[in-house]
């Protein structure tokens, strides 16, 4: 899956442009609809996300994450800005991070980024259902800790500890790729 996004950075063809929409359009449209957008505005937001991906593909660098994380960030930021109508603080810190690169060794090639993405995918697949549900409600439905607690009838502390546990597993799986 990430291959298409990586190729877009170098392959500027009409075919690549259409495949981008075919492959990722449905995911992003669905994401926007989970956040309360109607079908028409979800489609517009998906188009805007993918046009941004297309326009900025030349600026993509593996140090900023995988193309898939990059696409998720663009969709997330657009959702906060347009659907929640709030300030997107993630974008502000991304800009800052661009100006002051991390001192830790950034993974230096796209291949290791793809490896990281694959490890995370494997961790999420193997996650106990109760942790996966909480993580999905946060990342895909954008629910706060309190909202997740309400939705699943769980104590707030349980929601937080499941998020922590899920992250510990992701972190452990990426440890030797640092």
């Amino acid at each position: 899956m990430p291959d298409l996004l990586s190729r877009i950075a170098t392959e500027r063809s009409d075919g690549a442009f259409r495949r981008l929409f075919e492959e990722f359009g449905p995911q992003i449209k669905h994401y926007m609809m989970r956040h309360g957008a109607d079908a028409a505005s979800a489609e517009e937001l998906a188009q805007e996300t993918l046009l941004t991906v297309w326009r900025k593909a030349g600026l993509y660098s593996p140090a900023k994450g995988t193309p898939a994380t990059w696409m998720f960030s663009i969709a997330r930021n657009l959702r906060i800005d347009r659907l929640r109508k709030e300030v997107c603080w993630q974008e502000l810190s991304d800009e800052t991070a661009e100006a002051t690169p991390s001192e830790d060794a950034a993974p230096d090639d796209a291949a290791s980024e793809r490896q990281r993405q694959a490890r995370v995918q494997a961790v999420l697949t193997a996650l106990p259902g109760e942790q996966r549900d909480v993580v999905t409600l946060a990342f895909i439905d954008g629910l706060s800790h309190n909202e997740i607690a309400g939705r699943l009838s769980l104590p707030l502390g349980t929601v937080k500890s499941r998020l922590r546990l899920a992250y510990q597993k992701v972190r452990a799986a990426l440890e030797d790729l640092k």
Binding site: G65, M71, V87, S93, F139, L163, A166
Partner: protein, 203 residues
Amino acid sequence: MSTTIRRHPDSATLMSFAAGALSEPLAAACSAHASMCSECRDELRDMTLIGAALLGSAPTPGAQVAAPDALEPPLPERGVTRREGIPDPLPAPITQRYGLALGEIPWTRVGPGVWQHRLALSAGVEGELYLIKLAPGCRLPVHGHGGSELTLVITGAFSDASGEFRRGDLQDVDSDTEHQPVGDKEEGCVCLIAAEGPHLLKR
């Protein structure tokens, strides 16, 4: 600079920041901390991988998105623009958003040795975001919280029952925590405080 930061947001808080699921004031404090802390920036990058993986694996029943006809040229490559001069002690996301510098904050005195300046949030957002200044040795009144509260030290230091917090350190507390931060004896402190709910001052 970031190597001296010892107190970070709870990883559950950072996860929700990466997910775009924190309320606006809490997101502001996480953003400000991340701008000072390379360790948390790296963690956020790993957390964003989770969002990407979940986005790719969510079912998408019958949703097609039409590609626009006109194929636009890509944006030209651009270099990173660095700001000239000495950076302001205020975290970059705060100076960018509010156009403020530390020396220009229009403080309002709210008690002996305590000043605050409220930062505007988007319409309809609950909670509060403000800068607070404590004179050396002065203390905030004992308070609890109607939700999570994040306190980021910008200059100086403060301490409370849980220990000492210096520049870049972030205190992440729950609604059930009552605390009474005291400004450092020599330097006092300036902090960014983000609260999900109203402050519950004890009388």
